[in-house]
Point group: C2
Chain length 412, copies 2
């Protein structure tokens, strides 16, 4: 008799962004004339840059010719892409890295979701609160999170809860943990970790034999030179951290699907009888069994991001979005609202005025201005009383949304 | 202290095709002048058809324009593709299907590997022997297969062992099983199930409350009208079967990555306390948490396979490969070798002469002819004494390989 994995049944049914979409549909049906602007979802709006588009056309032509057609690719991804990554994302920043340690994937979501499979069912996980839901939900499916409590926390998860007083910086856990998920620049708060702060996490992981899953999907948005763009800038990180990268936010690949995971050869975990086992061969075994590589076109497109033109063009897109972040920051300040992020990240984490709840503010702003934000409580209980705004809109939409928000807040 | 998932440690280290590649490399280093021809690996050689290439260029251009750029796609895939699939792969064959039941993926390997996550850790799995290794290895990682025995079987897996006398048809299990993996047309044996044979499996699953995971990746190669191309041609299958499709072998997408999984709304499994739970929402929850969709370009390319030109062109490619299958069949017959498949499948499953072992034959043929096959024992103990040949080569390579094989066998 086929029995289901009952861990699935405990998951909250509706995904945050589905609930938001339903509320927006309802609003539109009541206000068909309204021009709705979303500063909510983390999807990019600028088209692919010319260097990437050119690479896609060239790869499509290759696939059309007998002599140049490509079938199954190498298990860890094409060497031309892994070598470009090593050269530009690591060696150029003084970080030693081997192309063997790079595993190409179809986006950071897949790998941050799947990497937990390498660990035992009893692994104790630690996440920030608020947090990107994938880290928790994938472990819930794997049976590691215990019961879902009334406050939205899971009984077996250790929450590194942040708050305004502490600048939404994560606190070191007070109880033993095995896997620590860190995402910096952070989604949803837009905060970053300084080199010193990240060093304390690496030191913690080393002394407690924990593994850090470091999600660097937003590293391209870092403006300040002192902020680490990779955990491997920190001495000792290679033994305790895997790192997840994506071209989604760096180069607008949300529809194209390509990213990469770094699994250093020194990264190990333990067997029950105390032997150390390297995670790299385990991850390669996992991927070669349950994944068949990213599209050749996407891999060629990703390689184009590292060409001189590609880099310049992609930097132009990031500057485009960061101009939005600057404008949103200026406007929030002008409105007297407390917020985090927006300087080294495309996200702004805004405290709602007058102690309004996240959903209450979401609905009030939608009704009054037709502008959509993301309720902070959707990222965890510590997000209550906050909303997330994103810098991924067009300039025109962002300016118009801010104009409406100022009008509304002034009237309030 | 981070502990690994020890189930990974039991897996045989080297994947079959990696071992073959190493042996071929060794041969090449000893015979640098030899022109090696592979009839081994199941990768296609013909370029993408013009309709697909055109769709890739058009989609790349869309991604280059502000008004037509596409970011994150719908969670289950684009409606234009899901609707084309329903129309051509199901409704045109008289099979009712809703586009909601189609989940677009990046290839059948991912989903046949991941679908086991929906089931309890105690689920008893049944596979054919020989078998595509992904079904077993993914369950081994999930802890369902017990110990790896000396004969290559796993202690907790039920093997539906085939043999020449039974035409490599799978036998109904004699002990209770929960998940049954069936792949037809079969990889590696090239055999098919008649409608009556498939009906016995659907009936078995219904009466034993088992779920069938039906891998239809090679259905486009079926030539005989009486052979079912989908398990949903069989009455009662919607309640007991999920089905996996791929554009890899249908349309040469091994480098492009796109496929789809069918999860009918009626398909359920049980909770420990006896409630029935639909698998469709569980699978969508799994995918929306750990997957972010196939590339927009790949989805547009897949939709082009269903246009009138696309269908005609893709059928041309399949006919191209099946001409190889026919030639290989004719030659094997002429050489007096016993074999299966090659009529409704791109694979031929050949009994080695004079009781040679699979690897022994592989090495002897490589040394004598520089032609590569796949040792049958790599697909399971029941594959010992067989090798797999594929029809995916070019005509020129295939003819030359056959010429060499005939010369070698005549001398022997």
């Amino acid at each position: 008799m086929a029995q289901i994995n009952e861990h699935f049944l405990q998951l909250p049914g509706a995904y945050l962004f589905s609930t938001i979409a339903a509320k927006v549909r309802d609003y539109r049906s009541r206000h068909p004339e309204a021009e709705v602007i979303s500063l909510g979802i983390g999807d990019v709006t600028q088209p692919l840059v010319p260097a990437v588009v050119e690479a896609l056309h060239a790869a499509a032509d290759e696939m059309a010719g007998s002599a140049t057609f490509r079938g199954y690719g190498p298990e860890q991804g094409y060497a031309f892409l892994r070598e470009a990554i090593v050269q530009h994302d690591f060696e150029a920043r003084g970080i030693p890295m081997s192309a063997d340690e790079i595993c190409i994937n179809d986006g950071a979501k897949s790998d941050t979701g799947n990497f937990q499979e390498l660990f035992g069912a009893d692994a104790r996980i630690a996440v920030t609160d608020p947090v990107y839901p994938v880290y928790v939900d994938s472990n819930a499916m794997g049976g590691r999170t215990g019961e879902l409590l009334a406050d939205g926390h899971w009984s077996k998860v250790v929450y590194l809860t942040g708050d305004a007083a502490g600048g939404f910086q994560p606190r070191l856990p007070e109880e033993p943990v095995d896997l620590i998920y860190l995402c910096y620049p952070n989604n949803p708060t837009g905060t970053v970790l300084t080199r010193a702060a990240l060093q304390t996490w690496v030191d913690y992981a080393r002394s407690h034999d924990a593994v850090i899953l470091y999600d660097a999907a937003y590293e391209a948005y870092i403006q300040d030179a002192g902020i680490p763009r990779s955990i491997y800038e920190i001495p000792g990180a290679r033994e305790v951290a895997a790192e997840f990268h994506s071209f989604s936010k760096t180069a607008g690949f949300t529809g194209l699907r390509c990213g990469y995971t770094v699994v250093p050869k020194e990264l190990t975990a333990q067997t029950r009888d105390g032997r150390r086992v390297a995670l790299h061969p385990l991850w390669v075994r996992r991927q070669s069994t349950k994944f068949n590589g990213a599209s050749y076109l996407s891999q060629r497109a990703a390689a184009a991001v590292y060409t001189p033109e590609g880099r310049r063009q992609v930097e132009g897109n990031i500057a485009y979005y960061m101009r939005n972040a600057q404008k949103i920051s200026d406007t929030l300040r002008q409105m007297g609202l407390e917020f985090f992020g927006g300087r080294n990240a495309p996200y702004l984490w805004v405290r709602t005025p007058q102690g309004m709840g996240s959903w209450q503010f979401f609905e009030a702003m939608l009704e009054a201005t037709a502008v959509v934000c993301t309720p902070g409580v959707g990222f965890g209980p510590a997000g209550e009383g906050y909303v997330r705004l994103t810098a991924f809109g067009t300039h025109e939409q962002t300016d118009e949304a801010l104009r409406r928000m100022v009008g509304w807040m002034t009237k309030k």
